[in-house]
Symmetry: C2
Subunit: 112 residues, 2 copies
């Protein structure tokens, strides 16, 4: 099981976490990840946002570099999930407050 590198718990920086969350696209991605609190494929099916795949890749990288998410490799697929425990340990209550403020995100089952 292989993961892409990211900061350890003690390396998490408040400013980077806040900066990563201060973008509407990434805030929505975090909200979607929080819905099931499990891994989610990086594919457009997993994140219904109308952006170029390179833009999504950029945002995934920012979230990972800030330490908000962990990315696992499986063949040519990437799976990403929130680092809720790590963030809770480093900045207690921060992510929960942000997720509560986001409000109910749309469920992953999309019946439009």
């Amino acid at each position: 099981m292989e993961f892409l590198p990211g900061p350890s718990v003690v390396e998490l920086k408040l400013e980077e976490v806040l900066a990563a969350l201060a973008d509407p696209v990434r805030l929505r991605m975090v909200g979607l990840l929080a819905v099931t609190d499990t891994e989610r494929s990086c594919s457009p099916a997993g994140f219904p946002v109308e952006l170029h795949k390179s833009t999504l890749s950029h945002h995934f990288k920012v979230l990972r570099a800030a330490g908000l998410t962990r990315t696992r490799l499986e063949g040519r697929n990437r799976f990403v999930r929130l680092r809720r425990e790590d963030l809770q340990e480093r900045f207690p209550g921060l992510l929960d407050a942000v997720l509560a403020a986001i409000g109910p995100a749309e469920p992953p089952t999309g019946s439009r």
Copy 2:
């Protein structure tokens, strides 16, 4: 008693609050304001940051526009304070978590 205009509680936007906090200078300003949780003069004496006064003015404006602070006018002086209750009402736990994450800020009495 006259205040500069700012958003009402319901007008507070999560992304703007996070964006305002995602800057190291503003994060420090918020931390300093939280120390005494009272009004603080906008003068350089109240905020020991080595920046141009127009830059401080810019940051005060961003904090106020995001709804993090309220600014009161008194002659040619400005006094600013955190809107802790408003932020707690709108985004429960968010500001407390941020302030806890900032850690102990230096006390306002400066005996270097």
